[in-house]
Symmetry: C2
Subunit: 365 residues, 2 copies
Amino acid sequence: MDIIPMHLGVAHFKTPQIAIDAMQEALVSQETYYGPNEGIAELRLAVAQRYFEDDGIPVPAEQVLITHGTKHALHLFLQSFLQPGDEVIAPAPFWFAFPEMVSQAGGKLISLPPNPEEDYALPLSAIKEHLSPTTRLLLLTNPGNPTGRAYSLKELEAVAQLMEQHASLHVLSDEIYDGLALHGTIKSFLHFEHLRHRVTVVNGFSKSFAMSGWRIGYIIAPFPVLQKVNELQQKIISGVSPFTQVGAAAALRHRHQIWEGFKNELLQKREKVAAVLQQLPQLSYVLPDAGYYFTIDIKGCLEEHSPASPFKLVEEWAAALKEQVGLEVLPGTAMGMPTAVRMSYALPDYVLASALDRLSAFVKH
Amino acid sequence: MDIIPMHLGVAHFKTPQIAIDAMQEALVSQETYYGPNEGIAELRLAVAQRYFEDDGIPVPAEQVLITHGTKHALHLFLQSFLQPGDEVIAPAPFWFAFPEMVSQAGGKLISLPPNPEEDYALPLSAIKEHLSPTTRLLLLTNPGNPTGRAYSLKELEAVAQLMEQHASLHVLSDEIYDGLALHGTIKSFLHFEHLRHRVTVVNGFSKSFAMSGWRIGYIIAPFPVLQKVNELQQKIISGVSPFTQVGAAAALRHRHQIWEGFKNELLQKREKVAAVLQQLPQLSYVLPDAGYYFTIDIKGCLEEHSPASPFKLVEEWAAALKEQVGLEVLPGTAMGMPTAVRMSYALPDYVLASALDRLSAFVKH
């Protein structure tokens, strides 16, 4: 049986042609040699300008460092920033790679339980409860992976207030899905200028620009942190290809047009998924604000809640879904949500229709 | 005053057009998304085939992992392989980044003194002298950076014999300049098939293919080591852009034609440099077998040997060279050779002529 891959973190969107065209011009002008470790000026400026033009947030281009993808931006930051034993608080669910990345950097991840019943609102009281003098970092994912939850300005303001009370707390905001907002725009944590010396934002081109194979991300951090990240990048890998950066800069300058196209497609697909899920009361979900995942709580299908079910664990349920109807989804255990799955709906329409038929057939069976 | 940069590790060669053309075809066929972490099959195969076709060395493509440049290949290998306290023996001079990379991975570098008087021959007796039960790794650079020294098969065989006597010794051979052989070919340490389970080779496209901005390297290692390197790469960064790899594979398949062109140009330039250096008895040098550096011992210009000299250190001499005549070279202290400099001669002819005039004027002054 063919397998429909809804477990992957990659959309069916085409890479914007404008990025490819710009890269090809860069090749003609021979930008094929070592570039500056921190990234080419054109891309750093384009990143800085997007925050100013879209949200009125002033970011100096010198505060932007271009990295080999957002994953490596996170790695470089955590390695540069954390000291052994530092506590890192992260509301679950979160990206599955975070626990190991934090532990590799000597940190200790404190995972706050997911709160689907509150639509995955920012868990302020749980954060407060776990804050201690050894808490070094609060890790936010905005919009959420996989929830697609966009934090409101009010929620972020509450975190900013907390930072004012806890002078040693730093926020790392992973905003890699922020171009895929399905209504309104995502509020970056860079918004709080008076806290900028304690805020790091990572972002990149893989998700919001369908450029996953380009391996370009960026980090915006306070200068002392950025300096360390820059030095570490120089030591262990060197900067990113100048010619791919030229392509990324072009994509970023045309972001509104690119994102409008992606949004229109995702909105239609999201409604199709929601219409099917509404017919499956065993599954509960929250409509995503952004990105291309549904987070689906399947505890209604597990033995604990349905004694007749053959499944104790979400992994067993997901394995049966794959084996019986050929649909692959990502169990959420490693993301801090042990009864839920992540399901990408960024598939061509005919594949999505078939996927939803398979899901229904499996759940209703 | 304008500065002529002879300190850089980048040649004036143009990136091969064949690589650019092949990449552009890959863009047309939309190879712009995540590729396999270990690299695309086409490039892994092209790497494997070069060893078989040129030297009769069988390398399975599965034993080749593509990395974000050779620097990162070294980083991933050292991080995966070394345990805290492991000793690493390296004959000087060596690439300036090695000491810190080894120490970052918890290792202890034992630098063997340079032996210009023996034409930088492989220092077998010094290696033997420093081998101990805690020696984990022998780091060879072949051809040498900056010496350009190519080890003979006989020299390498002596190391292989040593490995047979020391069952825990592993060899890391950095062969990144191997395409720039000026006569004959470079013997890879992969030659010793019976030792392949204790040999790692790193290489890449920055130097031998003038593709420094592409950030593509590779590592060939025993499977258990390669597996660890692969996992680490997956965790912290993910694989390299598929479309740039397509370009690298094309370059590799056309290597003979590309290298023939580079070699002819370098040979002419090397003779020009040597002709000038012969007129400057204060400087001593060894004619490089490969690459685009001269390693020049300037101790005859330092106070210790010439009491009238204002320079105690090679750094002072190099600073004066830059300030007085606008010629920048790389002091060798960080490369384990405290009285020598590295000078790249891969410059356009008219720049090289001017550089050599400046050097003569400064030394004769």
